[in-house]
């Protein structure tokens, strides 16, 4: 693989400069780390007593793991719900019936532009007070809000997935005598689902991250447990770092899975990928569509 097209293959002088800047960069990293750690230590935050709580089994068994279980449960319910919601409204937006089409469009556009937190706060009060759901009303509020928002995003993924299929698929379906609906269900949607799989997995990361918003309405998820556990011990900072690390590890694994799936799909060669133009840098991650074949920043490394 050739070097990046953004700069020439460095000559002796440029190589020397790059090495110098590299050393400078490394020094800066070390300095920032040292400054942070010594600053924390000066305030007594690096004291073992603040951290070793998180090395004890009880902390995990009694607080963090039950919290993580609730987080994953809410996320799993929200994932299933939003895929179902997305399928219904995605197909609705592809419908030839004007009424269904307009209705589904309004619903999808509305829920895509309303903040998830606003829905969580609303559903929490609506469920607990107006519907009188006493148990787990906070969790169901989080799940409902996540389903409406992410379901709308999934609906758009399905719609664009079907739109991007080759025209011949629909024509072939019609040619063998399928009705529009049958063709959509049997031919187009299955292919669209496969093509959108990487983007769908990236959306799961969003769901998992947003489930932490449940903290605000006291849904006893990972962040909430981390906070309640650490408040009396005076190590909220340390607890937040540990909780964040758990989220980062899970989400990072999911993002990697999305990249692997998209690479698999593009090497299979039957799903549509953008042809031609070589990219200047590796495909950016975390945007709405994870482009196939892109290792994060793989191609712009200095050699």
């Amino acid at each position: 693989m050739s070097a990046s097209v953004l700069f020439d293959t460095p000559g002796p002088k440029a190589r020397r400069n790059i090495i110098l800047i590299n050393i400078l960069g490394a020094v800066v990293i070390v300095a920032v780390l040292w400054w942070t750690i010594s600053g924390l230590a000066a305030k007594g935050q690096m004291a073992p007593g603040k951290w070793d709580d998180f090395l004890e089994a009880n902390t995990w068994v009694d607080y963090l793991l039950p919290g993580l279980a609730n987080t994953l449960k809410a996320a799993a319910l929200a994932i299933v719900g939003s895929v179902v919601f997305g399928l219904i409204f995605g197909i609705g937006r592809l419908s030839k019936n004007k009424l269904i089409n307009v209705f589904c469009s309004i619903i999808v556009e509305f829920f895509r532009s309303v903040p998830v937190l606003l829905m969580i706060v609303f559903f929490n009060i609506f469920f607990s007070r107006n519907l009188q759901i006493s148990s787990d009303s906070a969790m169901w509020a989080v799940v409902a809000a996540l389903v409406f928002y992410n379901g709308s995003v999934v609906a758009e993924l399905i719609r664009s997935g079907v739109r991007n299929l080759p025209k011949g698929q629909r024509e072939a379906g019609t040619a063998i005598g399928l009705t529009t609906g049958q063709c959509l269900r049997a031919v187009e949607i299955p292919q669209a689902l496969v093509a959108m799989l990487p983007a769908l997995i990236s959306q799961f990361v969003v769901i998992l991250k947003d489930s932490a918003l449940g903290y605000i309405i006291s849904f006893n998820e990972l962040l909430f447990y981390g906070r309640t556990y650490s408040s009396p011990n005076g190590n909220v900072l340390q607890a937040l770092i540990v909780v964040a690390a758990v989220f980062i590890i899970i989400n990072f694994a999911l993002s990697k899975l999305a990249t692997i799936v998209s690479r698999r799909l593009s090497s299979r060669g039957e799903t549509k990928t953008k042809p031609g133009a070589r990219a200047l840098v590796g495909a950016p991650a975390g945007l709405d569509d994870v482009e196939p074949g892109g290792g994060a920043g793989g191609r712009n490394q200095n050699r």
Partner: protein, 225 residues
């Protein structure tokens, strides 16, 4: 209809949304500056800079925004005594802006990188051919075109930022929309749905024009190839 109008007289819906717009405005400036620097680092020939940029994006992108905002208030302010000045309320506002900027900078960085991908290879080759080094080429050739190509993803980040500004409620910014709506719902349990719809409509009215504007801009500014 009367109850609907009474919501606006009884609760400061517009005022709360204005706080969200202010949060968005300042955080957007911070995120754009930081995100551009990160993008430059990630595409630069210097490995250590690229590594810093990549680590930043991978860590921040995978952390819930709630934790980042909470970290500002509980850890930086509460535990370490960081004060950004301007008094009690203003300090929390500034901490929330900082958290929002740090979080969205990662997405701005990735948007700009996707914009860099829309720049034809020949542009980079031509820049090298006339003897431009990395920094001048990036500043004069690559980035101006990359920004034009990145308008749609940048617009999406801006829309996400507008909606995410409600998370400032975690950071004790109690005058913004989601906190105001929570109080309104507590006060008027008889009309929860109209109250929700009033605040939601506010966001729809802000977000949809931004979407239309970015679509229009991206068509107008698209680099013809």
């Amino acid at each position: 209809m009367d109850t609907f109008i009474s919501i606006f007289t009884e609760f400061d819906v517009a005022g709360a949304l204005w706080v969200n717009i202010k949060l968005t405005f300042f955080a957007a400036i911070g995120a754009t500056v930081l995100g551009t620097i990160l993008a430059m680092m990630r595409i630069s020939p210097v490995a250590s800079f690229a590594a810093i940029g990549t680590s930043y994006v991978n860590i921040i992108r995978n952390t819930p925004l709630t934790i980042i905002i909470l970290f500002g208030v509980l850890a930086l302010n509460g535990q370490l005594g960081l004060d950004l000045g301007g008094g009690f309320q203003q300090n929390f506002f500034r901490l929330a802006v900082m958290g929002l900027a740090i979080y969205h900078a990662a997405f701005v960085c990735e948007s700009i990188r996707s914009g860099v991908n829309t720049v034809p290879q020949g542009q980079a080759e031509a820049a090298r051919a006339i003897g431009l080094a990395f920094m001048p080429a990036a500043r004069m050739i690559i980035l101006p075109q990359a920004f034009r190509g990145a308008i749609v993803p940048l617009g999406n980040v801006l829309i996400a930022l507008i909606k995410n500004s409600t998370v400032a409620a975690v950071g004790s910014v109690s005058v913004e929309a989601s906190a105001t709506m929570g109080n309104a719902l507590d006060a008027r349990g008889d009309i929860v749905l109209p109250i929700f719809l009033a605040f939601a409509a506010g966001f729809v009215i802000i977000v949809i024009p931004v979407g239309l504007l970015t679509t229009w801009l991206s068509k107008k500014l698209a680099v013809s190839q």
